[in-house]
């Protein structure tokens, strides 16, 4: 086999591998989006500590991965003031192997002076939720950033 034929075969192999990886990773990403964060796998709680007046936001999850590749899930929650400065921020990431499940917990403590009236819904600022799924050694990914502005009534 001469070197031109060898190169041609190599290119075809490389193309097939690239297409296969692309299909597998995109399938895994969308699969993770639809199954890993479905209703039954997440539990969200927002409580107030009566003794300190602090708000405690807790997100517990047990995401599943029915895709063909392992995925890394990243969660971040933050409360920001109107100028975009952090009041509270926390994040966590969890690796979920292909066909498996894994647990994670993310908590955020919001100081009591943020909501002196005791109602978080009346706080002027932003609540930010960032969620990311990465696969193929974290080389391919999808990120969703949701930002909600809270306004005083």
């Amino acid at each position: 086999m001469n070197r031109i034929k060898a190169l041609r075969l190599g290119i075809i192999g490389f193309e097939v591998l690239t297409i296969a990886l692309c299909v597998l990773s995109v399938y895994t990403l969308f699969n993770a989006l639809s199954t890993a964060i479905s209703g039954g796998t997440m539990d969200l709680n927002l409580n107030i500590d009566e003794s300190t007046g602090e708000w405690r936001f807790v997100l517990n999850g047990n995401p599943r991965n029915t895709g063909f590749l392992g995925v890394t899930l990243f969660f971040e929650v933050a409360v920001l003031d109107l100028s975009g400065q952090d009041i509270a921020r926390n994040s966590t990431s969890v690796y979920v192997p292909a066909g498996g499940a894994n647990q994670f917990s993310l908590s955020l403590t919001i100081p009591p002076d943020v909501a002196p009236g005791g109602d978080l819904g009346e706080v002027e600022g932003y609540f930010e939720l960032r969620f990311a799924v990465r696969t193929l050694g974290d080389l391919v990914g999808f990120t969703n950033i949701l930002k909600i502005r809270g306004q005083a009534p």
Binding site: I4, T18, F142, T143, N144, I145
Partner: protein, 175 residues
């Protein structure tokens, strides 16, 4: 000037698939849907026009390649141009209609007090496609060189230069 039939067939097929069909499909979509897509920040008509333009350029390149011998410099240049053009098509697909994204697409929307940003990061495949195109260009050059060498080997050897003896005029009779 002769043209290879295979090139004509491929050029017509490319034009049909990438240009005629998308434009026809677009004309079949009700205007309300197009307006609905447009209101969501997704310009379908623009996307279809870009795909149709890509198809037109691609079919012209394929057709042009059919005019030239595989041993000509123009054929090599057209081969490289069409390979690079394929890379642009890959960037176009990975960037969801925007080549300049190179596989990193950011879609933002805002409704009242809620803003949502979605980021697709598939740059890895843009890099892999670039490597593949580089290898394809090397392959085209090697193939071109091989075709040239084969042609040179097949062609009859150049007639030898006339020798001094042959050039000599017939000796004139002095007597």
């Amino acid at each position: 000037m002769k043209i290879r039939k295979k090139s004509v067939v491929f050029a017509v097929l490319t034009l049909l698939i990438f240009t005629v069909l998308p434009l026809y499909a677009q004309s079949m979509i009700p205007q309300e849907y197009l307006r609905a897509f447009s209101s969501q920040g997704f310009n379908l008509a623009d996307l279809v026009n870009k795909v149709a333009f890509i198809g037109l350029v691609m079919s012209i390149l394929i057709l042009l390649k059919g005019f030239f011998e595989k041993t000509s410099d123009t054929f090599l240049a057209l081969s490289i141009a069409s390979t690079v053009f394929w890379l642009l098509i890959v960037f176009f697909a990975l960037g969801m209609g925007k080549m300049e994204n190179l596989g990193l697409t950011v879609i933002s929307s805002e409704t009242g007090d809620v803003s949502n940003t979605v980021i697709f990061d598939i740059r890895l495949f843009a890099y892999l496609a670039t490597i593949i195109v580089g290898l394809k260009i090397i392959h085209s050059i090697l193939k071109f060189r091989e075709a040239r060498l084969k042609t040179a080997a097949v062609q009859p050897s150049q007639p030898s230069l006339p020798t001094a003896k042959a050039q000599d005029p017939k000796p004139s009779n002095a007597n």
